[in-house]
């Protein structure tokens, strides 16, 4: 299991291959990739991602440990980018492998829901309508609460 926080883009195929390396012990790989979606009716230009360095890794490793305690998963890989990201760019990758699919599906979904509400990242919208910090969403809190 490993976590990378980086400005550079990542290659999903490299991340996927890392999870594939556990075959034939594993039968399932589930991946999530989050992208910069268009916003402000086409006037959004980019997101600027900031984080709290040492805490981020600590929180993400804690979330992975919690997922491992809940489901029989073998390996987890998290990559999260920081800095300025244009529309369509990759922001975050979460990949999980396991023997059976249910564990990988649930763990990957759980990790994303907890990352969204616990990992110290913040997004600033860069927009033709002006720049502004994004507000946390109530639906993300509800998604996290559903795992409790």
């Amino acid at each position: 299991m490993s976590v990378s926080i980086q400005q550079d883009d990542f290659d999903c195929i490299d991340e996927y291959k890392l999870l594939l390396a556990d075959a034939p012990k594993i039968g399932a790989i589930v991946t999530f990739c989050g992208l910069v979606r268009e916003f402000d009716q086409g006037q959004g230009l980019a997101l600027e991602l900031e984080h709290y360095p040492q805490m981020t890794e600590k929180v993400l490793l804690g979330i992975i440990a919690e997922a491992k305690a809940r489901w029989p998963i073998l390996n987890v890989r998290i990559v999260h980018r920081i800095g300025r990201l244009s529309l369509s760019e990759q922001i975050v990758f979460v990949g999980v492998n396991s023997e059976h699919r249910q564990a990988a599906f649930k763990a990957c979904h759980f990790i994303m829901d907890l990352l969204k509400t616990k990992a110290p990242f913040w997004k600033k919208a860069i927009s033709q309508q002006g720049d502004y910090w994004l507000a946390a969403k109530a639906c993300d809190q509800r998604a996290k609460a559903a795992w409790e």
């Binding site: 709290y52 805490m55 929180v59 990352l115 990992a119 110290p120 990242f121 913040w122 946390a136």
Partner: protein
């Protein structure tokens, strides 16, 4: 010394990225730290006493009653929005 960090919109509003406080035994918990920082002005008082502000001590989530000690790193920030 206690190191204080501010992130994202909170840092912008306070126009302050980091600060240091001399540790003293009167600084028992986060509430005491907020009270001391609030003396810096109206904006500090308002922002640090907001219901939405989050706090971490040594990179672990904390609350008003979390005890502090010398050399701790305390961070204040708004709700997270990553992913």
């Amino acid at each position: 010394m206690i190191k204080i960090l501010f992130f994202a919109s909170l840092r912008d509003q306070l126009a302050c990225e980091s600060a240091s406080l001399c540790y003293s035994q009167s600084l028992k918990n986060i509430q005491d730290v907020i009270a001391l920082l609030s003396e810096r002005g109206e904006i500090w008082h308002k922002q640090l006493n907001s219901a939405s502000v989050k706090v971490a001590v040594n990179q672990e989530m904390a609350d008003l009653h979390t005890a502090i000690k010398d050399n701790d790193e305390i961070a204040f920030f708004p709700p997270v929005t990553g992913g």
